[in-house]
Amino acid sequence: MSALLDIRGVTRRYPQPRRHLLHPEPPLVAVNDVSARIAPGETLGIVGESGSGKTTLARMVMGFETPDEGQVLFDGEDLHDLSAAALRQRRRAFQMIFQDPYGSLDPRRSVGWSVAQPLRAIGQTSNRRAVEDVLHRVGLDPADGNRFPHEFSGGQRQRIAIARAIASRPKLIVADEAVSALDVSVRAQILNLLMDLQEEFGLAMLFISHDLSVVASLCDSLLVLRGGRTVEHGPAQDILAAPATEYTATLLAAARLDPPTGVPA
């Protein structure tokens, strides 16, 4: 099966401030030669401790950052080889859900305005119905579109963010720690919503989390990162059942210490 998203050996380095007059500081390698593929409708989980390069990888997949080496192919096209205008046109097909539901919605804009943003960007200006539909789909009142983000709880805001992400009917959703900031009870609801939407729209997902227990139930395959390098990569079940490295085993043990998250199997 051809891949929807094909990450080919991407590396991203950040220059570091010089600490010594004569010796330039070696750059920080945030992501080091990482490869992965996602087929349409499939979910790839990326796990790792903080600083392991998960978010940098997500930012490169979203085209916010350009890899120093390697390629990110979406639908067979190298995202970082496209012109700025062409990339903007492709963007409707891959959307992102952010970690902080308080920072990802413009406090000065109504919810409806934010949800409609991806639609306006592709030239759909009369989109009232579409916004109401998508708000309804994520379990909100269609009339909520006229309200402002500060009137909603964290979980509701994350629903709004999901509504915005699916409004342009993308093929891929990148969820960067999408449930980490939420209460455990709300977390399960949001995960269920994501799984329902994935089934309904045939979405592929790149699901980033530091918490293996969240990823476990959701993902077809797993990519374990540490210090920007791939530690393990393979089918989720295999890795969870028999982690090949101590690092993964530690992550798994840490996840098991958490109280049950209520994620349905």
Partner: protein, 274 residues
């Protein structure tokens, strides 16, 4: 909101609002015509017919002060408006493009900061003759770098927010993001800065008019009233005191108002609102 605790805000408003009201009234009515000379009745003491007396030419001082307030407020409004919008545009541009564009704009702003406003006004007056519009241009000019710096600083912070990334993910370009997200979210610090600069502009206009580089006779102006009263200090000190007080009240009022607005809107002072 903590507005009820911001004493500066209310004190500033209490000084500024009556002033604006008086300026508005003077547009349609003043006790006497400000160009009406009554030399036989010069240096009259305050009386029911002349509330603050008359000056060396027998003009009604209260009418002059009222009329001059319009002048001061208009100059400040136009100058801050012009300099502010240009400065904000430059600041947004610098923030949106970064790199050498940002460096260029901010170094030009440094250059503007290094240039004394008075010198610029004298230059304009030398080249094009002293006039109120040249004074406005000079004050507007000194405001450009101030607003460019404030706008760029605030905009740089907003650019790092997730909702801007979300807009970018939706496929919006920098110009669109700037108008949709950046500008609305930097409005608060810009308005605060504008209020403070308003006070500075009123003072600058008074200074320029005092030096004869601003409002030309017969247009009444606090600064010129002050300079005309200077030679009469021993004869009629009150003629210098009245316009001086007006300048103090206006500058203090807008300064306090700006500080108060900052107290209310500054996120660093704001309590977390769930």
């Amino acid at each position: 909101m903590r507005a009820h605790r911001a004493i500066n805000l209310w004190l500033g408003a209490a000084l500024v609002l009556p002033m604006i009201a008086i300026a508005a009234i003077s547009l349609i009515w003043t006790p006497y015509d400000v160009t009406l000379l009554d030399v036989g009745n010069k240096f009259a003491p305050p009386s029911p017919s002349h509330w603050l007396g008359t000056d060396q030419l027998g003009r009604d001082v209260a009418s002059l002060l009222m009329s001059a307030s319009v002048n001061s407020l208009t100059v400040a409004f136009v100058a801050v408006g012009m300099g502010g919008s240009l400065g904000v545009m430059l600041g947004l541009l610098a923030s949106a493009f970064g790199g050498w564009v940002e460096t260029l704009v901010m170094r030009l702003a440094d250059l503007g900061f290094a240039f004394p406003a008075l010198l610029f006004a004298i230059m304009l007056a030398t080249a094009f003759g002293p006039s109120l519009s040249n004074a406005i241009l000079a004050i507007a000019f000194i405001n450009i770098p101030v607003f460019a710096r404030v706008a760029r600083g605030a905009a740089n912070q907003v650019w790092t927010r997730d909702f801007v990334l979300a807009g970018q993910a939706a496929g919006l370009g920098r110009a669109r993001l700037t108008f949709d997200h950046i500008l609305p979210n930097i409005a608060a610090p810009i308005i605060v800065q504008a209020t403070i600069e308003f006070a500075v502009a009123i003072l600058a206009e008074a200074a320029l008019s005092y030096l004869g580089l601003g409002a030309q006779p017969p247009l009444p102006s606090w600064g010129r009233m002050l300079s005309e009263a200077q030679t009469l200090m021993y004869l009629a000190p009150e003629l210098a005191i009245y316009p001086g007080l007006c300048i103090i009240i206006a500058v203090l009022g807008f300064g306090l108002l700006g500080d108060g607005l900052r107290d209310v809107t500054d996120p660093r002072l704001k309590q977390v609102r769930a």
